[in-house]
Amino acid sequence: MPEYTVSFAGFHVAIEYDSDEVHYFLSLLFDDLHSEAQVAEHEKVLRVAQAEVAGEYTLTNTGCESFSGALGVHFAAMLFDAVIFNLLNRNSHGIAFHAGAVAYQDKVILLPGLSGYGKSSVTTCLVTQGCSYLTDELYFIPADEHAPRSPFTRPLCIKYGAVSAVKRLVDEHALDNALGDEYGYIIPHRLLNPEFRQITTSPSLILIPKYQAGAELKIEKISAAQVSTHLMACDVNGRNLEGHGFRQVIQIARSVPTYRMVYSSFQGVEAAMQNLFKVLHWK
């Protein structure tokens, strides 16, 4: 069976597939992380293959069927979870933060947050306002300060609950060409960000999005102690690191200005971000 290799932060996962439909699906999800070269050592071989039920596919992990369904948004979420788990399971070279990331004038803005904080929708919002997309899920910062940083660049994955807000941000063309179903949307980021360029520098700004129903838009500076506590909660592979990466997190928290953005809608975000860039002396 042919294999599709996904690489991230020095680790590789192979996904066996059995049809052109699956290959197309894998390309949609992992195009920016795909390795053409033969990789000597994989972390894991997953398999996506047609199920007995027509139109359904099975995700197999370590010989066990872990999910079955159509190649849609839910299947993608299960596959992303399996791939990310295996890519990070033994990674002890640095910290992978559960975070979105965009770039503004080549400066990386990290958007760390747990599920439900609105990482993907705020990332989408910033991309539609002129920032360059890097990731809506994971950002890897190696312990070696000279090593390149790695955004987990995948399509924008918009969960069902955020669809109506995101529909107001993106044009119809992007949605028409996205994969959409009752679970949400998967939007190839080049539809919003056609001139994509990978940027692998350290974050210059941390912006913590926090959705709060009914709240007025507010962007406020928070202290290094506050952000380090927040970053520890977003540290995905901490278990592999000495002290769960606490010292590296403290170093990041001390060196990168951090703001919290409380919002209930995206109205006014563009002006607020421009004000923030002025405060930071970004032209």
Binding site: Q226, H230, M232, H244
Partner: protein, 90 residues
């Protein structure tokens, strides 16, 4: 809360003081905690020797103008420590 009891912090936590605030992380419990300036002071007074009542007394001596609030603040923080299993009362 029985204020005659002593707050005992769980061993093994990592702590960093940044600009009079504290961030605490306990790797075994995988839990983190942010303490503002007041919280940081309370944390340091929870030295495994002083009972809760004495922690409150020390703070009231330092900040008599906030006497009414201090006991509530101390109890609230200790409750957070207990909820996160970072401390026990003995």
């Amino acid at each position: 809360m029985d204020t005659k009891r002593i707050v005992m912090l769980e061993a093994g936590y990592l702590l960093e003081r940044i600009d009079n605030e504290i961030t605490v992380y306990h790797p075994t419990l995988a839990t983190s905690l942010y303490l503002n300036e007041t919280g940081a002071l309370i944390w340091e007074l929870c030295d495994g020797v002083r009972p809760v009542s004495e922690v409150i007394d020390v703070l009231v001596d330092l900040y008599p103008e906030n006497e009414a609030q201090i006991a509530d603040d101390v109890r609230a923080l200790i409750r957070r420590l207990l909820e996160k299993n970072i401390a026990v009362l003995r």
